[in-house]
Amino acid sequence: MTIVAASRVSPRRGGTGVRWLIGRLGGLLFVLWAAATLTFFALRLIPGDPAEALLGGPGSQASDEALAAAREEYGLNQPLWMQYLAQMGRYLLLDFGTSYSLREPVSSVIAEQFPGTLLLASLALALAWVLAITVAVWSARSGRIAGALGSALEVVAVALPHFWLATSLVLLFSTTLGWLPPISGRSPSGLVLPVITLAIPLAGFLGQVMRESLLNALSSPFAQSARTRGETATGVIWRHGLRHAALPAIGLSGWAFGTLVSGAVVVETVFARPGLGRTLLSAVQARDIPLVTGTVLVVALAYSLVTTLTDVLDRIADPRLRTEANA
């Protein structure tokens, strides 16, 4: 029997965190640029005079002077590529034009309305996490029937339309019980119902993901192995299960943030709460194109930043993403 030996050199692996991050940010910039480009060309698809569209469509009865001003402002009489470059330039400066329905620069409308929505979305995300963890842990602890119940709850929660949930909550907590104000405004107590409305469907979604990975983690050999070392069932959930359950949920939180902002469209309207969602809805209804595109692009920007952030968090929370790429 002959033995042939072959050798293999194994230098240090390259791809460091910094390089990854630079790549990720590069991707982010690309996506933003492409989103803006897409929006630019989508707007050119609107039939009719783009100047008129910018001023609210054919029903706006825009005066000739206003149309001329809009053409001037957006360079609509210039060649397309010039318009495109000029538009991109303005976007770079966060200049999205002027909302004709609010008669305010779009950027200042957004600056005014975004913080409220951000607060709403963040609180809803936090609450959704708490609810999802609670249900996941509870149903993991309490056996099959609880598991089925938890699962059913999650499915129903996901299927709850925001508007229906919102009006039902108002009916229950404001009209019938009188505990919470039906309109939100900027008061802390007014935040309760909108936050709950946004959090419940999301909690259902996160809960599904968390419970599945929690159960996977709990039935995995390492959990079994911890049990043989004397770890209690609860201890296994807290020390092992939850981390694993949290991982996919962290990854999904960026996405969740996006759905929360679009959920805010409904919730802010129902609860008369100022915010970007409500701005967006009225802008869509009024076909206030500068305001719609500005809002959508800013949300896209924020959303992309948040997903990048969750990717970073994911890498921090899950060492496998950093080290096991080559296993």
Binding site: G27, F30, V31, L32, A34, A35, L38, T39, A42, L43, L45, I46, A148, S151, A152, V155, V156, V158, A159, L160, P161, H162, F163, W164, T167, S168, V170, L171, T175, W255, F257, G258, T259, V261, S262, G263, V265, V266, T269, L280, L281, A283, V284, Q285, R287, I289, V292, T293, V296, V299, A300, Y303, S304
Partner: protein
Amino acid sequence: MKRPSVVETAPVVVLAFFVVSAVAPNLIAPGDPLAIDPLASFQAPSAGHPLGTDESGRDILTRIVHGAAPSLLIGVLATAIGVGLGLVLGIVGGLGPRWLDTTSTRFVEVLFAFPGLLLALLFIAIAGPGPVTSTIAVGLATAPGYARLVRSQVLSVRRSGYVEAALVLGHGWWRRLLRHILPNVTATLFVLVTLGVGQSIVWASSLSYLGLGVSPPAAEWGAMLNSGRTYVASFWWMTFFPGLAIVLSAAATTLLGRSLQSRVRSS
């Protein structure tokens, strides 16, 4: 095959009800969903009107039953649009040459930058509101998700042992595509679609609720909610039951999708 559990049968029963409603509404509620009776308006649920009547005295049960077709159809059509686009992008990405994959993946990423209903709202702002645009809008909004899933599915099937085995056996590209890749992608896609229809129904009804989709007096659940919302404090049944129909159908399709998924997985 194990005996179906309650969790598996309940959604089938619910969906069967809605599908019958959609296909043959007159079997369940033989009335005209648009027939008005102004003097019998705002009636609470009773024997005559099990789910009450709305502001024009229309029977809500009849409307929900007759509303199943448009409501579900919008969800299904939107999903079909989303899946169709997703299939094209996903298959192009999963099977095409590398540059095409990169391009389509990037494109999907860009669409992904508009989360949730944002893409739909942008589309409606451009194309104007209405049932057709809202259906397309929801389809567009769901497409990137499907594209991503289809692509990963195509890739995993393409890299699977059996496709490789076919290659090793000397089978050509088309044969591998038609015999192995597409059928297996379709099988799992069916599950994805079932899971997605529920979300599309909710989204489409949200758009109707916001007045951007189907408009009253059409018997569509979101539109019914839209016209009932004014009266929510006084006449809860006008919003409660259409909402319940949305929740039930969405939850049922999701549950069905999940049990299909677990069956596919376990076999």
